[in-house]
């Protein structure tokens, strides 16, 4: 008799109730189209898009601001030539007599630059020429355009100053008597700095968010669908049921995190130059992490998932209904993820004090690993405290699952 593949996998599993519970959880989730869409399809489509659309929009080389140039001074060719050399802005000449404020307000141009008639004359006579920019402070491309114009103005001004000093036979260093040399104690590429700031928090947020739907479904969902009673009549201990469900939720969370990271990887590789532009270092979108630190990242990402899933499992077991579990888990995920965003910006001295905090400690260790500055004592302390929290949380989940007052409360 021909049997389906899922069935064949089941028969090949080791003889273990734990394996059976995990596989059942797995099959159930795999066959739920909405769950699979949220776990696999959305991350590999939505994450690259959400990563690249803002970068694309913010990148002046991909999406240059449009500048309307009203040149009333025909002698200002050296300045306009300098401006037109910049690829990150699209310059179009406009004629006098137009309402330039309206041109910007109606988005015909992102900004308008006016070069007054006496601009060159004032400069060449040793005076100060003024440029006029009309822009829209609510338009990102417009503000980017202003920065580019300011960059060109600064270069042009430097050039004029240099010429004037030369005419006066004065050394240019007279106007810049102090220099600044900056040396970092840790050598990281800007991509590494960006990844160190984003990836651990991304893993943390995704782990907690992904676990929420699976934990809700396997606990409160099972109560609500009334499948739990039949399950409880099987010769399986409550400890094993909780462990099986926990491992099932964990496996699904890991898959979810994997696809989210895959989404990030696709997103970054698709527009690596955009990524480099955003990190202000074109051509250096490289991430170099040692193999041992990669292992540290993987282990602590697993710990974040395990801790998040154990907290969610305990809370969802406690919930009376699926709706209540959803409310608890969304409250918890918000409570966990909001501070994650805040601690992205904390200085290392404060981060060191958070190493014993569940979920956040492993995130800080992952950050260290991305920067290749893992401290063994900090790592061991974080590992020990995280495992202790995990044991307490699982013990708590088992106690809740063993309490019929909680299990059967409706």
């Amino acid at each position: 008799m021909k049997r389906p593949r899922s069935f064949a996998i089941w028969t090949s599993l080791p003889k273990s109730q734990l394996a059976d519970i995990v596989w059942r959880e797995f099959l159930d989730a795999l066959r739920d189209r909405r769950t699979m869409a949220a776990t696999i399809l959305l991350p590999i489509v939505l994450v690259p898009l959400s990563l690249n659309i803002p970068m694309f929009l913010m990148s002046p080389s991909r999406n240059p601001p449009t500048l309307g140039l009203l040149q009333l001074d025909s002698a200002a060719g050296d300045f306009t030539a300098m401006l037109r050399e910049i690829n990150e802005i699209q310059v179009t000449g406009i004629s006098a007599g137009q309402n330039i404020t309206e041109l910007v307000a109606k988005n015909v141009f992102d900004l308008v630059l006016v070069i007054p008639a006496n601009f060159s004359q004032l400069i060449h006579s040793g005076g100060k020429g003024s440029l006029i920019v009309i822009y829209d402070s609510t338009n990102t491309r417009s503000t980017t355009g202003v920065s580019i114009v300011e960059f060109v103005r600064s270069r042009y001004a430097d050039m004029i100053v240099e010429e004037r000093l030369k005419d006066l036979n004065v050394n240019p260093s007279i106007i810049e008597p102090v220099d600044l040399k900056v040396t970092s104690v840790r050598e990281v590429t800007s991509t590494q700095a960006f990844a160190g700031m984003m990836v651990p928090y991304f893993i943390g947020i995704v782990s907690v968010l992904a676990g929420a739907s699976f934990a809700t479904d396997t606990t409160a969902g099972e109560k609500e669908r009334r499948t739990l009673e039949a399950f409880l009549t099987m010769p399986v201990t409550r400890v094993r049921i909780v462990f099986g469900k926990f491992l099932g939720v964990l496996a699904l969370s890991i898959i979810s995190v994997f696809f989210d990271l895959l989404g990030v990887a696709i997103g970054v590789s698709f527009y690596s130059s955009l990524f480099a532009e955003m990190t202000m270092t074109p051509g250096t979108a490289q991430l170099s992490i040692t193999p041992s630190n990669l292992i540290v990242i993987a282990v602590f990402a697993l710990i974040v998932s395990m801790t998040g899933d154990a907290i969610l499992m305990a809370v969802c077991i406690f919930a009376k209904s699926f709706k209540e579990a959803q409310q608890y888990s969304s409250l918890l995920t918000t409570a966990f993820t909001m501070p994650m965003i805040a601690i992205m910006f904390l200085p290392p001295s404060i981060l060191g004090n958070l190493i014993a905090v569940p979920i956040y400690g492993p995130i800080i260790v992952m950050r260290d690993a991305i920067f290749n500055v893992t401290a063994p004592d900090r790592l061991i302390f974080c590992l020990a405290t995280s495992l202790a929290y995990l044991a307490i949380l699982l013990f708590f989940a088992i106690r809740l699952f063993s309490s019929e007052r909680i299990l059967f409360r409706v």
């Binding site: 389906p4 069935f7 028969t11 003889k15 009334r226 009673e229 039949a230 009549t233």
Partner: protein
């Protein structure tokens, strides 16, 4: 021979509400024992305690020689339970359902496959073996739940309203299976509202009300005690008498 079920002061309280009130009785092996009673009489709570899903507040019970409080796993290994709700996973197929629960009972794969095939064929579900349970009719789901309960060839079967809401043919098939199991020496505990069904199937019946057993015996014994002809009349006589008291 030790009775199939022996309860001693078996009590279950939910807060101040007493769902099952100090039940003490024995059920011999190899009988179909009917538990009858109005809604809220405590039938389901009683079955849940015997199947070790709920822990008694006071007293205890032994099922097939094992204590429901101290040896719940031993009890569960030997019983089959069909709860009021089928409790099936909608996204598993009938074959996978039997595989899952059969493996939890520790049945060897080859035996499990053979047993699963024979049960699916016996209950006419071979063609639905690989269809998701969620798409099956209520009667088919009830059959799958019953297969799950008897998959491991239990010595005792606890059935809570097994034919409720089923069409005539499905109900008849399920009754046939209960009779078969009893003939093979198994003990069946049947909680039902269907008094005709109880009269047809049960060797012994207990009538429960307000958490206690108000009468226990064969249908004939209860009939002669109450001077009523049918089990339905016996039931009305006893429950009404209890209410009036």
């Amino acid at each position: 021979m030790e009775p199939a079920i022996a309860a001693e002061n078996l009590t279950k309280k939910f807060g101040t509400f007493v769902a099952v009130d100090h039940l003490s009785f024995e059920i011999p092996r190899g009988v179909v024992f009917g538990i009858l009673g109005p809604n809220g009489a405590g039938k389901t709570t009683f079955l849940r305690m015997l199947s070790t899903v709920l822990r008694p507040t006071e007293g205890t019970a032994r099922v097939l020689g094992y204590d429901v409080i101290r040896e719940p796993i031993r009890v569960r290994e030997r019983i089959g339970v069909l709860p009021e709700d089928t409790g099936l996973y909608d996204r598993l197929t009938p074959a996978e359902t039997l595989m899952f629960y059969g493996r939890l009972h520790g049945i060897e794969t080859a035996k499990l496959l053979a047993r699963s095939d024979s049960l699916l064929s016996l209950l006419g579900l071979e063609e639905k073996r690989d269809v998701k349970v969620g798409t099956l009719s209520k009667g088919m789901k009830q059959k799958v739940a019953l297969m799950r309960a008897i998959m491991h060839e239990p010595e005792a079967l606890f059935l809570d309203e097994p034919t409720s809401g089923l069409d005539v043919m499905s109900a008849r098939e399920i009754r046939g299976l209960i009779i078969d199991l009893a003939k093979r020496g198994g003990t069946v505990l049947l909680s039902t509202h269907n008094l005709w069904e109880a009269q047809q199937l049960c060797n012994l019946v207990a009538i429960m009300n307000k958490g206690g057993i108000i009468s226990i015996g064969t249908v004939e014994e209860l009939g002669s005690m109450t001077h009523e002809k049918t089990l339905e009349d016996v039931f009305v006589h006893l429950v009404r008498g209890e209410v009036e008291r």
